[in-house]
Symmetry: C2
Subunit: 232 residues, 2 copies
Amino acid sequence: MTTAEDTTPTADADRDRPAGSAEYAHTAGWVASVLRARIAAGDLTPGTKLSEQTLSTSLGVSRNTLREAFSALAGESVITRIPNRGVFVASPGIEEVREIYRVRRAIEPAAVLWGELSAEALESMESIVQRALTARDDGAVADMADANQALHSSVVDLTGSSSLRVLMDRVLAEMRLVFHAMTSAPDFHAHFVERNVRLVERLRAGDRLAAAEGLRAYLDDAETELVRRIST
Amino acid sequence: MTTAEDTTPTADADRDRPAGSAEYAHTAGWVASVLRARIAAGDLTPGTKLSEQTLSTSLGVSRNTLREAFSALAGESVITRIPNRGVFVASPGIEEVREIYRVRRAIEPAAVLWGELSAEALESMESIVQRALTARDDGAVADMADANQALHSSVVDLTGSSSLRVLMDRVLAEMRLVFHAMTSAPDFHAHFVERNVRLVERLRAGDRLAAAEGLRAYLDDAETELVRRIST
DNA sequence: CTCACCGGAATTGTTGAACAATTCCCTGCC
DNA sequence: GGCAGGGAATTGTTCAACAATTCCGGTGAG
């Protein structure tokens, strides 16, 4: 089992804690954001154990404060808590992937079909698609993945709902965990850039029902593709 | 400002804490569930301050453990945390109500349109509608409200997604807070029982698009009605 | 050699006390 | 009545301790 201290053998205590003492409030929130970022960046890979002792000294906070941060992160299902065993970076399996796509197949087409489709939103989406296209042609895999996720985020934003945005962010974070858990996630997104283009085209044309149905088919295919890659 | 201790002047320490010492694990989780239940039951009304000192002694847990529970509840937006001021039972206003209906207008029609509509699910929904009807005729307002909420929960369940179920439960809990904040929530649900009947009828008939659109109109009306009641 | 068992060491779960920083609230002054 | 000042209460955070549990290495039996 991997442990967090493996990646940082030397303790980097107090790494840029918010200001000397003025930004006093909410250390726990700061800790949670740091851990969230490290996990999202792949610095902490799925399954890694987060030892209370090690992390608290490494971050320069007390064990109690760290536990408070853990409580918040557990609610976001970013980490998994096993009683008396400790907390681990969540490592999503096939069932989690299916759940991810259940959520996406519900809220993304709903946003496409019923969201408020302003001109700015449409232009923003078109520029994002363009970014994905150039990234693909340049072979910039990470940029392409980012652009793809950004597109689907802005799709959900069509609903205007912050809660759905939060849920989508959580889901995309979990997706990133899935990719981190795979030994290599090469060109998963490449197959889907074209379909994103078509999605935006249909939206531009005002054919929202076709856009929604196409998006559902897109998500179906992405799910089976991802499940296939995990299973093998 | 109301405070929690007003409702329980005499400290009821250790009120049915899970077993003598065997169910040791997860005191914080237990505390969170207790608070969640008390808030949902209207025992703790919106705006009530939750004092750390009072609550920790009243529940027989340490202040640190209580804070851990607070972290979890804040993530569910059941409580509001104001730095250096304390935590309060969330008191949703108009903007929160609008957000609630943004979420519902997205995920409920999506479930109706694209969810897996099994025979059992349909029968369950029909029995729930029946329950709401008899409750309305008996003047059992609380039962009717419960049945209505149960119906919409089972609508979301058509997606098969636990995350969406959790989100819906959170939203309905917030709705209950809205009602608790109103001096009296008399027959808000009565207007909508008929429309629930029609919703299920359309589902039974297999006309999912009409069901989805009807549900969206339903939610629009419910939102404006609720906003109107709050504003006055 | 494998495996079950056992005891110490490490880790988690939880508590209580302490202290700085902030906010609350009451009092006295104009 | 309004306003400044100054304890008192409350929050934010840390530290040290302890029970309960799990982990880990060795030991002995088969």
